[in-house]
Symmetry: C2
Subunit: 327 residues, 2 copies
């Protein structure tokens, strides 16, 4: 990463965070708006809104013109996190208590709902001739996220999930919002039809790589520090790329061993080690790395129709960031 | 009710229901879209969308032009019901199992979320020059509903809720969507600024009357059949008009008796009878009736700026329907 890339990321992120807090009413009831401010303060790279702003700039617009949409997207993302944490019964997110844990489940349901409404409010704050198109992109995208989360939960009680089904699930649950970010960015930037289509692909491929890299990093991190992420995913019988690939490429003995651990309900560090070993035996880690690389190469190709400018370069650097990310 | 009024209500309701089912994708995942179709099939008077269509007509538009908005509003209403039923732990709605009971809590969270997104999708299906205004009305309204539900839950653990706080809560939780219905109807009907302002008031007053009438009907029904509604509201320590008014107008002995029942957690039919008796002693039932009448008179006055047409007459008949409703 070049210093100018880091500075650019930080400046876009700061713009988003500042405006995002302005979008949340400061008044009563506090048990609605305080949890919302808590949820959106929890940090992260703000990758989705930054992508939206960068693509807007790369296709000829000014980031300021896309700021409301970028903030809306980050609010949508936070809405999904608050509700997903209830459904997954997760007590921690980025080291802090989740909303339903810190307050209660009802507060988390309502603040998630209100986050979604605040996102739409941000989106239609100003009337412009591309409003209906942008709204359409958002609503289709959020509906896909709901579908993806539904599939993710369905898969927890299924043994026979295929890689094709896994890709369909993460494309909806994760890649879709990246795709919306990049497409809306190009719509608001005034990109050509070819550029807009390419940006959908760029976002989708980047998002897919991001999710598989996420599954992979959990395991790699696990080899040093036996944290709780992979353990709790195994306990919930979550169908990650790794689990699905390993099941499809196991012999009968390996499959039996893996299924037994997935159905234990409570896994030990020995179980985690055994699973990582199975991942290696079935060449699952290599397959995941290959899938990430392929997606990122596709994402890189999708940048070709963009004009040659610094924002395009930064979109390329974002690919490298996902490739080598360590958080 | 005149026969032509009943026929009109039925024809508008049928329009809404038919289009509403078209708005829900029929494909996978079934554990998302089947609960949604189940939730919206549960019937009811469809009062909010019918109001929107009638006001559109009364202010000079055609109901067809407001149909998408009317359907959107009914979807929003159903979103709130699905999520409220989780929060209130209600197993039944209109005699049928609630979504979280028939499926599970996660399914209910996700199908509620998707209902809200489908509502917005319906709203921005077509681009028109009043789109941003209509969206703004909706988003402000839904946010108020979230605030109202937050207050409703907060009040369950409070002893000192005043009537002013109660009105603020039901204005947000219930009356607001009636108000949005009527205002958006007048916006899409092309009403004058005066008519639009009057329609906000008409909706708000009608909605307030509707909610208090609801509290009242539970008790009146209770005198014949000791159903579960009032019992479960008392068990949850819900702050209805009746409870708040009775607490404010009780002497020390009465207040102590009522508070004791509200904090029992489990009430008997004798408790319910005792509470109804307290309502009578404190003239609470009369006060509720008076409040309903006053609101409905205000609603009637708000119809004056409308042109003299059959839709306006029907808006008047809707007032009579709320006044005398027995369901």
């Amino acid at each position: 990463m070049t210093p100018s890339f880091d500075a650019k990321m930080k400046s876009l992120k700061d713009m988003v965070v500042e405006r995002m807090f302005q979008a949340v009413p400061s008044e009563n009831p506090v048990t609605l708006y305080e949890p919302i401010r808590y949820a959106i303060a929890s940090g992260g790279k703000r990758l989705r809104p930054v992508l939206l702003l960068l693509v807007c700039e790369a296709t000829g617009g000014r980031p300021e013109d896309a700021l409301d949409a970028a903030v809306a997207l980050e609010l949508v993302h936070n809405f999904t996190l608050v509700h997903d944490d209830i459904m997954d019964n997760d007590d921690l997110r980025r080291g802090k208590e989740t909303v339903h844990k810190k307050w209660d489940r009802n507060v988390a349901i309502l603040s998630g709902d209100a986050l979604l409404v605040l996102a739409y409010s941000m989106l239609h704050r100003r009337s412009h001739n591309r409003l209906a198109q942008v709204l359409d992109d958002f609503s289709r995208g959020i509906l896909q996220v709901c579908e993806g989360q539904t599939l993710d939960k369905e898969f927890e009680s299924r043994k026979d999930v295929t890689l094709a089904e896994y890709f369909d699930m993460i494309d909806k649950k994760t890649a879709e919002l990246f795709s919306v970010a990049c497409h809306v960015g190009s719509v608001l930037g005034g990109g050509t039809a070819e550029q807009m289509a390419a940006m959908r692909i760029y976002g989708k491929k980047l998002g897919r790589a991001f999710q598989i890299q996420d599954d992979l990093l959990d395991v790699i991190a696990e080899e040093n520090v036996l944290g709780k992420d992979i353990g709790s995913d195994l306990e919930a019988n979550k169908k990650t790329f790794l689990v699905v690939h390993a099941l499809q490429h196991s012999d009968d003995r390996q499959k039996k061993q893996l299924q037994a651990i997935l159905h234990k309900g409570k896994v030990t560090t020995d179980d985690v080690r055994a699973v990582i070993d199975l991942f290696k035996q079935t060449k699952t880690l290599d397959a995941a790395r290959l899938e990430v690389d392929t997606c990122l190469q596709d994402a890189k190709k999708a940048l070709l129709p963009l004009p040659d400018n610094s924002a395009r370069l930064q979109l390329g650097e974002l690919i490298d960031l996902v490739a080598g990310r360590n958080s």
